[in-house]
């Protein structure tokens, strides 16, 4: 066979592979394109035209005169800046706490002890339980009239607390009086409780793949436990912790169910996603909801860009 016909045969194979590949991917691409990508593009259009729930059937896909009315309405809303602020507080503390507790759990459950497998399994409960069930149990436990937490507080001589319904609570400590955003803190604690198992799984996997000899060398050198953790283990966990931070930050920022189910966005816990659904269903203003959605996506894109720039420079350095 001449070299030319071998080449032709190869390119024929490559062509067939190309066709087969495209054929296999196509159904999935069409589904995702029609139900995710196209809607996202349409969302831009929706945010630029007056669109109410009532005249939803007349909303145009592309033929309309763009207006920034929705963006004005959304940003001039009295709630706008408080909602953004709440979203950031919720996201940052929720992320840090869930990762911190996950790290603590991974360190605790890393070394062998009797019943370790079972305890590891149990710690995944908060993460796998359906969010609606988890939110209900928390609401029950924290209920001011019959919740068990409040029963315990009352039994200890304290005052009953409406954890999920109190916007700010006066606290007296060391002769100082200050107020804390109680409902928001409770929602953040829920977030930390629900997602620490996720961080735990990742960190545990990373811990188990660390080389043993570095730690052993540190022991020989007489480093104590805390020194070994701080100077040997923690630096090696850097990559997994930063990936976790990115993922958890994005997902907490986008989270809707948890806050909506716990408080409905009341008592100073309204985050941006709850506000979007509020515009959509509560005020029947599709255009405003779409505009706030664009703002959410925009903030997320900026944060991701900053993160990747910073992260990749770290990597390169």
């Amino acid at each position: 066979m001449s070299t030319q016909s071998i080449k032709a045969g190869r390119s024929g194979l490559a062509r067939r592979e190309n066709r087969l590949g495209i054929g296999l991917v196509m159904p999935a691409v069409v589904v995702v394109g029609a139900l995710v990508v196209f809607p996202l593009i349409w969302n831009v259009a929706l945010s630029l035209q007056p669109a109410r729930l009532l005249n939803i059937r007349n909303v145009s896909v592309f033929g309309f005169t763009p207006t920034l009315r929705n963006y004005r309405v959304v940003t001039q809303d009295l709630d706008f800046w408080p909602v953004l602020w709440t979203t950031f507080v919720y996201t940052i503390f929720g992320t840090i706490l869930s990762i911190g507790i996950g790290l603590w759990a991974a360190l605790t459950l890393q070394k062998t002890f009797k019943g370790r497998g079972m305890v590891r399994g149990l710690t995944l409960f908060p993460y796998v339980v359906p969010v609606i069930a988890a939110a209900f149990v928390w609401k029950m436990m924290l209920n001011p009239t019959f919740g068990i937490i409040n029963e315990w507080i009352a039994a200890g001589g304290g005052q009953r607390i409406d954890f999920l319904g109190t916007k700010s609570q006066e606290v007296h400590l060391l002769g100082l009086t200050f107020s804390i955003p109680l409902a928001l803190i409770t929602v953040i604690l829920f977030e930390a409780w629900r997602y620490f198992p996720f961080a735990f799984l990742f960190i545990l996997a990373a811990l188990q793949s660390l080389p043993k000899d570095v730690e052993e060398a540190a022991i020989v050198d007489g480093a104590t436990l805390s020194q070994r953790f701080w100077y040997v283990t923690l630096p090696q966990l850097g990559p997994v912790l930063s990936v976790l931070f990115l993922l958890r930050f994005i997902w907490t920022f986008n989270k809707f169910d948890d806050v909506f189910l716990l408080t409905g966005g009341g008592a100073g816990t309204r985050v941006i996603t709850v506000k979007i659904i509020d515009w959509l269903l509560g005020r029947a203003d599709v255009g405003a909801a779409a505009a706030l959605g664009m703002i959410l996506a925009g903030i997320l894109l900026i944060l991701m860009a900053v993160y990747f720039k910073w992260f990749y420079q770290e990597e390169a350095a």
Binding site: I22, V25, L35, P126, I132, F136, L225
Partner: protein, 288 residues
């Protein structure tokens, strides 16, 4: 005592306390939920600290019966919600796996035009907020009449679980040695034969893990259900039904019974496949 000895003892004690803490924090809410789910609401109000139900209450299953009974017989009609959730979740799993396996195989194994964009697209969509997608979908479905139908819900779940399915399966397909497939080809199998007889059996654990994970997403999902089937009670899924019944009229212990009902399948599935799942979750970096 040296610092090293002191720390050994300190952290040794802390470790025992920590294990206790994690067990209580993870388990107690579930114990509380199950305990209260058997009680009549009057008894909870009379003695809120007693969470252990009596043997009679457990045997009579009164709260569970009340939750499951159809609305026409004075119950909450949860059997219907269970049916809806089961239909939606299983259909989503089957469809997603069908589309996902083919696409993941192509991305993992074949060279084709646009392969890189598909891979990148998966990640981007995976990180994108569902709330933003839900607004235009809401409008779209209202216009083409897919709102207020289980089919519409299934289609949305299919689209939103496909990226993660692709992501999880692709990683696994790549880890299967190419030589095994090439050997199959040499023995005269077609490409379809190779996927069916060699790749899929080898990837069975990953496929199972993905199926379970997709099932859990669809079973637990709340936002899309709220947007798409709220208007018709006959179409409510378990998540939506539970949330909608959180009113003054419905006794709270019944809601606990409902919560147990929605939780049981998830916990059972999870522990049936814990090993696959935890490996799959950490390999795929799964959303939650």
């Amino acid at each position: 005592m040296t610092r090293a000895r002191f720390e050994e003892r300190l952290f040794g004690t802390l470790k025992v306390l920590s294990i206790g803490f994690f067990v209580v924090v993870s388990l107690f809410p579930l114990v509380y939920m199950v305990g209260l789910s058997f009680k009549p609401i009057q008894e909870l109000l009379r003695d809120p600290t007693n969470i252990v139900p009596s043997w009679e209450q457990i045997r009579s299953l009164e709260t569970y019966r009340a939750v499951l009974r159809p609305q026409s017989e004075g119950g909450q009609g949860f059997l219907l919600f269970i049916r809806n959730s089961t239909i939606v979740a299983t259909s989503t799993v089957l469809l997603t796996l069908g589309f996902g396996i083919l696409a993941a195989y192509a991305v993992a194994r074949l060279n084709f035009f646009g392969k890189r964009s598909v891979s990148l697209g998966i990640i981007l969509i995976y990180l994108f907020p569902a709330v933003v997608v839900s607004i235009p979908l809401f409008v779209m479905f209202s216009r083409i009449g897919l709102r207020s139908s289980l089919l519409g819900l299934i289609v949305v779940y299919l689209a939103s679980t496909l990226p993660v399915t692709l992501y999880m399966l692709r990683g696994y397909f790549q880890s299967i040695p190419k030589e095994l497939e090439e050997a199959g080809m040499v023995d005269g199998l077609s490409r379809a034969g190779v996927i069916w007889k060699i790749t899929l059996p080898l990837a069975a654990p990953a496929v199972a893990a993905t199926a379970l994970y997709v099932f859990m997403i669809a079973w637990n999902e709340f936002l899309y259900a709220l947007l798409f089937v709220l208007e018709n009670r006959q179409l409510w899924t378990l998540s939506l039904g539970l949330q909608q019944l959180d009113t003054q009229e419905v006794p709270k212990t019944m809601l606990m019974a409902g919560s147990v009902i929605i939780t049981i399948p998830v916990i059972v599935l999870f522990f049936a496949a814990e090993r696959f799942l935890t490996e799959g979750l950490t390999a795929g970096g799964v959303k939650g």
